[in-house]
């Protein structure tokens, strides 16, 4: 899922202050933590309270769509509700914001989130961590299901580097060394020989920028 964090409310208030009729659009898709109807409603309440302190009254309309990145779904859900709206505040990832901006070129469309990475949530600990960098040339089969591009701070393909100590990364002592994890995993599977092959750099042309499904 795509991991986002909420923008500081001051920043959002700065964006929307020139406008009065604001449409807040949540996304029920893959944004994590969830940015659906509840988050949209809460954001409208917080912005109303924040607006009052700036002597600014807003009219908020709140809704959510199944996936903001789906232009068809989003258009059919939002077009009937767009009359009178001056600005749109999107709770989706950066992709959703761009879809909305394209759908409503005449309106101001603002992001309410910062988009970070494709990650997974460790529910018990309440932690979201990057897991995939979308490189276009998946090598998880060779690394015991642990992605060194997303999880090694240096994106090394032939790790670990000299900065790995006690299973942690030199960049951040809280961060697991991805290569240390890979070695442990391969050891457990009895596949350590996979490490003997030197891997050439990733071919980033494979990442691509457009596909026809």
């Amino acid at each position: 899922m795509i991991v986002t964090t909420s923008k500081p409310l001051d920043e959002v208030l700065d964006y929307i202050s020139p406008y009065s009729n604001i449409f807040i659009v949540g996304c029920d898709g893959c944004t994590q933590p969830p940015r659906g109807l509840r988050e949209a409603k809460i954001l409208s309440q917080l912005l109303e309270l924040g607006g009052k302190l700036r002597n600014k009254n807003f009219n908020f309309k709140v809704t959510t769509v199944a996936k903001q990145c789906d232009s068809y779904l989003t258009a059919s859900a939002l077009k009937p509700q767009i009359d009178g709206v001056e600005a749109v505040l999107s709770l989706a990832c950066g992709i959703g914001v761009q879809t909305l901006a394209e759908l409503f070129p005449e309106l101001s469309v603002f992001p309410a989130q910062n988009t970070h990475f494709m990650g997974a949530e460790e529910r018990e600990k309440g932690i979201l961590e990057e897991r995939c960098a979308g490189c276009g040339d998946c090598l998880l089969a060779l690394t015991g299901g642990i992605c060194p591009i997303a999880r090694c701070a240096k994106g090394l393909l032939n790790g670990p580097c000299g900065g790995s100590a006690n299973g942690k990364c030199e960049v951040d002592p809280e961060r697991d060394c991805a290569w240390s994890l890979i070695i442990e995993r391969l050891k457990a599977r009895g596949k350590l020989e996979l490490l003997e092959e030197i891997r050439p750099p990733i071919d980033y042309q494979l990442k691509g920028w457009r596909f026809t499904p």
Partner: protein, 389 residues
Amino acid sequence: MNEQLTEERAAVEINEDYCSSCSICSTLCPFEAIKRDTETGKTFLEIEKCQVCGICYSDCPAKAINIIYYDMDSLTKYLVRAKQEYECDELVIMCKGSAPDFAGIEKLFGVTKFIPLSIPCVGRISEEVFLKAIVMGIKRIYVLACDEDYCRFDRGSQITKRKILALNLLLDQLGYGTEVITLKRNSLKVKVDKDLCIACGNCVFYCPYDAAKLDSPGAVSFDLSACKGCGLCVAMCPALALDLENWEEESISTLISKLLSEMKPPKILVFRCQWAVFPPLDEEFNQNVRFIDLPCASRVDTFHILEAFQKGVDGILIASCSEEDCKQEGASKNAQHSVTILGERLKQIGLQDRLHFCTVAPRYSGSFDRELEQFSKKMEAIYLEGGKE
């Protein structure tokens, strides 16, 4: 335990002068808080384990147990007062843990006009109270208890059943018939709006009782026999698709508006967990403070808090059980987490210090009052400061 706590008055005490060491209380106590010293033969109470259910109080044959909440005296006074106030002869005694709002009571018992008596556990109501009520002229008594396997005081619901059976037999012999007292069981349950559900699985993760299932694509379904009505999933649902039957979001919103209209600034609204604070039956209201009793602190909803701020409340206090005392698994922890996150966001718009989460327990009578007093002082100061600008 620090000194401040030990100095406080415990809500339950054993009066050694009256105690005959019969051990009924230690046998009945669901929390093993009452024990008998094998050497001295004396019965003693470990207050830290006590959850103040009151079962020992009402069943002590020697009247050797003192309790602060809902003792014989305050229950009798309440009944006398309430009988005049409500002008009717039907009484509904309900467990707070399972009681729906008043409209829900109507649906359950078919009574529209009744004297409500809402207490933490109906198992604590002694036979004497029932008989006194009947002597006072009350014709029918409806008892609403939690389902036996949900009873948060473990044995309260069971004890109620036996008590009522015996009481009805007794009343029949006295010529009152067999149906003076009716027992019903109820538990709050979640309901899903399938049109709003986005099948995200949040409730499946948060439900402490594995009641939420996401087996088939589409929408979540709940095993209602496992649901204990804590409301945690409702407060965590990102799609606003869940609600508690007879404890709906809307009714809390309506209550917020009503309470705020009665108050004078600085207005303080308290959301309190029914297990953390036992309000006295003759609770007096200060014009600055109003209370909303929730089935569990985990039902405190971020948007109810914000709604109250939007409607002009100055401060919100949330009184919850501590993690150790929490009657619902992990509910207190989750409630605190949500409130902390919201507090951070309120800070960003200049509403810092307006929201406070505290953990209290009824075992010390003053713990909640002290929290409220401190918070009130803070709100008063903020309010006066704001007035000068």
